[in-house]
Subunit: 383 residues, 2 copies
Amino acid sequence: MDHRTPAATVGVVGGGQLGRMMGEAAGPLGVELVVSDPTPDCPAAPVVRDQVVGDFEDYEAIRTLAERADVLTFEIELADPDAMERVGEETDTPIHPDPGTLRTIQDKLVQNRTLEKGGLPVPAFRRVDTEADLRKAGEELGWPVMLKAREGGYDGRGNRPVEGPEAAAEALEEVGGAALAEEFVDFERELAVMGAVGDGETRAYPVTETIHEEEILRESVTPARTNEAVRSRAREIAFDVLEILEGRGVYGIELFETADGEILVNEIAPRPHNSGHWTIEGAGCSQFEQHVRAVLGWPLGDASLRSPAVTANLLGDVTDPRVAELAGTESILGTAEASLHWYGKREARPLRKMGHVTLTEADADRDTLLSRARKLVGSVSFK
Amino acid sequence: MDHRTPAATVGVVGGGQLGRMMGEAAGPLGVELVVSDPTPDCPAAPVVRDQVVGDFEDYEAIRTLAERADVLTFEIELADPDAMERVGEETDTPIHPDPGTLRTIQDKLVQNRTLEKGGLPVPAFRRVDTEADLRKAGEELGWPVMLKAREGGYDGRGNRPVEGPEAAAEALEEVGGAALAEEFVDFERELAVMGAVGDGETRAYPVTETIHEEEILRESVTPARTNEAVRSRAREIAFDVLEILEGRGVYGIELFETADGEILVNEIAPRPHNSGHWTIEGAGCSQFEQHVRAVLGWPLGDASLRSPAVTANLLGDVTDPRVAELAGTESILGTAEASLHWYGKREARPLRKMGHVTLTEADADRDTLLSRARKLVGSVSFK
């Protein structure tokens, strides 16, 4: 493998915070990014070579990326697999992960079926198109069930628990049509494993514990505060998931740990993921550098733990959109163990991910790190 | 302190690898960089908001930076202090470090005098304008002496040892006029301390050992492989140096450790420095993030050691300029403890700094790290 200038160019559909952090990681490798995003001056724009303004399904924008890049990838599930596939065929630009993998993941029913077929443990689920389907699913799986829109949901949007048959009609209307119902998993904790598929090699990062509220990730704790057997099983399952995915790249594998220590696969993200932000400071190679290496087919980087890490999201604590202005950041900047990541979004919206803070400390007590992270996040505000 | 979008903009005179790494460090903080550099598409360009094409003394270019920035700084000593001062007065944009500090440092005679006046230990030196001055200096200081051009020298260019009076004429011609002669320091090793001056606070990083060949930095080893008393004295002197410098920012303080364990100040760089590249992986806060924080007057970051680190430069091993293409980088990318930094320069030139590799490992033996770093650098080539 050779390095020239630029060492390589990666085209990325999407230019949000994940694209921005990919760009920050690509620079030291000599890799340049060109991103496409509908928002002019998107979060990634100031740190990458160029932005093409275009929707995630905009064929022309994606084609421009492919023509300028050695490999095409995406940082958002809204990227259009059909447009990418067509561009890939026309330009011979490789696309990673495979658009087929994205298609599978975009439809949660197909995703669950694929996982199940691959022998992976998933919550019991049923296809739900009508109210009758949902009532039947509830009877078979037992109430309550978790109703999920098959497509388009993220950060918990499109998911809702349904307590019983009387709530079926309203729930289905809210989720909006094609859906699936899953048995309600009364999990002990939620876990995530970031995995990477390279050119003939796979890696998995240490197991992360994720803490959600209103179905939005608030904090992650790595290594997860569970027992070694559970962590080991979670990594095994993550490697099994990587086996059935097509195409190189970093994948976020979200898991449930049940009360009796079983692991179930919740969801796959075919890209770097919020639950892997801790890797920037806490692992040898960050998930963002790893993704860049993986899609280029370069040797994968070191996925091992450097030090325990807690990441806490900086969410818009506002009731209405307003110009983003976070007051009191000196508390974060003045904490030796804290690293601030600010995504450069112009507008704060309720619960919007505006940035994050990671605390790392060698041999740290994770409970203490977590409470310090919460305190730091609590000390700043958009109001 | 507040964070908005962008959190702040820093204007940087110079867009070489130091500007590039400043840009890479600024992104996560939400800080945007605008750089000025005479080379279109300079190394920093792909990772910063914008480049203004202009010489380092180009008043209009510097003024454009100042108008777009919250603070003006520089990453190269060739930045023109007069132009910056004029722009600062006209636009009210603060400039850090102070252009006066840059002026002092640009003239090695003035630099030495300032250090001496500040009570800092420097090699004995004499002003040299004529051959007669040089002969006299040699008689007083003892032959050989180190002849240094007062201005414009870097990476050892402009420095040469003079063995005796018979070599005086030729040496002076080579160095080209206004010079100084220093006693020849038969050092045990060369050391460097990166220091940071913030808003009412100063920090110093652990002491680095620097290894030069043909007066160009090849490797750095941190912590320096010397005894604790020497390291402690080196840091004390670094703090004393920071005391006499005007303006916030990161400073590279190059030192000699003499055979009897004395410390002498060799040179000051009013900016991040090659001997501090290890801080990206080896310290809590990199010298580049530190510089950004410092010039903005933000709280300084953690300058403590995370793990021992060795940095080795990737220099152009070519005899003539050619398009930069480094073969065999998979050896570096495939080493878990190694981090590659590629500066994006289009042309490899003899001994030009094209990139660097840092090896970090907790509790590592530094001799082993150094020999591994040398082996890695030896495994790649521009030829």
